[in-house]
Amino acid sequence: MENHETQISKPKSRLFFLSTDHKTIGILYGFTGLLFLLLGFSIMMLMRWQLAFPGQPIPFIGSWFGQDRAPGGIMLPEFYNQLGAMHGTIMVFLGVVPIVVGAFGNYLVPLQIGAPDMAFPKLNLMSYWLYVLGGLCALSSFFMPGGAAQSGWTSYPPLADIATAGQTFWLIAIIFLALSSMLNSINIITTIVQLRAKGLTFMRLPFFVWAQFVTGFLLLLAFPALEAASVLQLMDRLAGTSFFLPSGLVVSGQPLSVSGGGSPLLWQHLFWFLAHPEVYVLILPAMGIVAEILANNTRKPLWGYRSMVYATIFLGFMSFLVWAHHMFLTGMGTIISGFFQATTMIISIPSVVILLALLISLWGGSIRFTTPMLFALAFLPMFGIGGLTGLPLGLTISDIPLHDTYYVIGHFHYIVALGTVFAIFGGIYYWFPKLTGRKMNDALGRIHFAGSLIFMNGVFFPMFILGLAGVSRRLWDGGAQYQFAQHVLHWHEFMSISAWLLAVFQIPFIVNLFWSIRKGKKVRENYWDATTLEWAASSPPPHGNFFPLPEVYRSPYEYSVPGYTEDFLPQNRFMEEGSGLKEKG
């Protein structure tokens, strides 16, 4: 039984962007995702000008957008709506998810489980290019007559059904992205189940791998809902059906000629059936990254690893049962609202279990305040704020005044921006030595951290104040037309200036990233003295990762083992019997 029955994966192409190596694909995902993140952020900075100074021409770059978007540099409401919809779409579907799943998942999962590559390398490459295709589709819609999608990132019909052609492109982009993430999640799950190194049982997997495993199932089973919904909406827009258009719909005084019988509520159900698990797709890998960084920098095992794993599985399961808490105001009935309110309260329990376990892990650790650790430490309270402010939104009574106000935006940006994006930054600083063999500059990293932490709070905290004052999130002028909003409107200026300063503080990061690739300080292979398997490979790992494949003897976070000379004991280090060490797990 020699080689004839094993799949041979040979990089067919010398071209970087056609390589089937999981590390190359992960890096491609990472850079593309970071570009989209920057684009989504730039869109937001434009919107913040309009919100802070409504009706005033955009300085310096106002003339770039043309007469039909911003005549005289003054943003039109339609253009503002396009920016709003595309900011959400780009950030969620093209920025954060591809980074946490595509980049971190692809790069790290095979390394952390001691596998030579993903289970299906060619599908992996295909999923990257489908993602690029979807991204180009979404971007090209800006140049359609009537502009990009402008019905919000949720694309609620009937508005989205009768919107301009950009919406069609949005739907096609979503179908591409659904296919891409389906292939990616099949790949990640199969890799974790099948390619674990010898001795690496499920309860010895690093927590990051567990998070990716559950995330894979969420993407696999939730995305088809939006895919099907997109097909239905495409039919509505192209074939004249009326899945989401009710009978007797009147648009600007004219009754619409539809066959009728459609249900706008159906779209919301299908959309949120994806989009709620999607929230956990955003946060679970981030928690995984933070867990890795925390365990390494506190130099002690994670507290309650098992309960964290069980909480993650439970969280993944429950995330399929909470979607309609986004729809309390749709009139779907109090009984259904009551059910989803109950499930929403239940799902907060596993999130709290994970967060508390991470917090308690700090207790008694000898903490090293490295740059990635700063981001991981900031993640904990910031995610805490995001999570706690979510509770009033999950209760029907308090959701009624808060729904669709700035409070909601503040809540989920505390989770996604101050939570996930911080974890992404921390992860980049933490695994950069693995990717390049060099480390990123610490001084620049600390400047980046401090600026990001201060100004992200500056952007998002005032949103709670605006939201509690009742200002709606979707207004083109930020609420200037309403009398009741006048006493809080000055916060818009504060938030906008914070956003622009936040952009300034991203410059050290960008400079640091590119400078360190070539000029960063060279470091040894296991720079952080970590225990998990990715640090057993050389930096950067060659095609095939491990020669020979490693074998695992213990749990992932064996730091400060009593009686052992070093303060870390790698998973793959073999210990003789009776060497004075008791084996655990």
Binding site: H4, E5, I8, A119, I186, L195, L220, P224, A228
Partner: protein, 198 residues
């Protein structure tokens, strides 16, 4: 430099699977969700509708019935092409897989004829929600079948080479293709009574 992916063909002892089998089942799970969502949408739309036509009054039941029989037959030939590979009978495999392909194409031709008949009578997706969901679901099903036909055509064309290179791996591939083919047929077995008979 070349690397070997472990368990691409051989079974991993502790999970009892090879990679492709887990992969195809995960893919089918995703597909179940896709069609499951469409079926749920059908139920929701039907329950919410003021009136819903009887499928048999609008659609051509005998044509649909013929298509059902064709698909059941194609599943049988598909599974037998796999079992003949297990018996090392490549010739028989080729014959049976070609038959499967032929039956799949006939299904699509009948489906097209059915669509044409509807269009000739002025029945378009925009006509009513029933027609809309009929065209969407059968259209999506036909697209899936087309995908299966393309995969099997690839296995027919390159079958000899793959069989000579690595018979065990090729058998696994045919099994995966067969699982997908069965899934697509199973969807039809549910679609047919749902749309044509109720």
């Amino acid at each position: 430099m070349q690397i070997n992916i472990p368990y691409a063909t051989e079974t991993r002892p502790d999970t009892g699977l090879h990679n492709a089998k887990l992969g195809i089942w995960l893919f089918l799970a995703s597909e179940v969700m896709l069609f499951g969502v469409l079926f749920s949408s059908y139920v929701l739309l039907r329950v919410g509708a003021e009136s819903w036509p009887r499928g048999a009054d609008i659609l051509d039941v005998p044509l649909g019935a013929i298509n059902t029989i064709i698909l059941i037959a194609s599943s049988i030939t598909m599974v037998r092409s796999w079992t003949s590979l297990l018996k090392n009978d490549f010739k028989n495999f080729r014959l049976l897989l070609s038959t499967t392909e032929l039956l799949g194409v006939i299904f699509l031709v009948v489906k097209c004829a059915e669509y044409r008949l509807k269009f000739e009578h002025g029945l378009y997706p925009s006509g009513s929600t029933f027609l809309a969901i009929y065209f969407t679901m059968t259209g999506l099903h036909a697209l899936h079948l087309l995908g299966g036909i393309v995969v099997n055509a690839y296995h027919l064309v390159s079958g000899k080479r793959q069989w000579n290179l690595n018979p065990e791996k090729f058998t696994h591939r045919i099994e995966a293709a067969g699982l997908y083919w069965h899934f697509v047929d199973l969807i039809w077995i549910i679609l047919f009574p749902l749309l044509y008979l109720t």
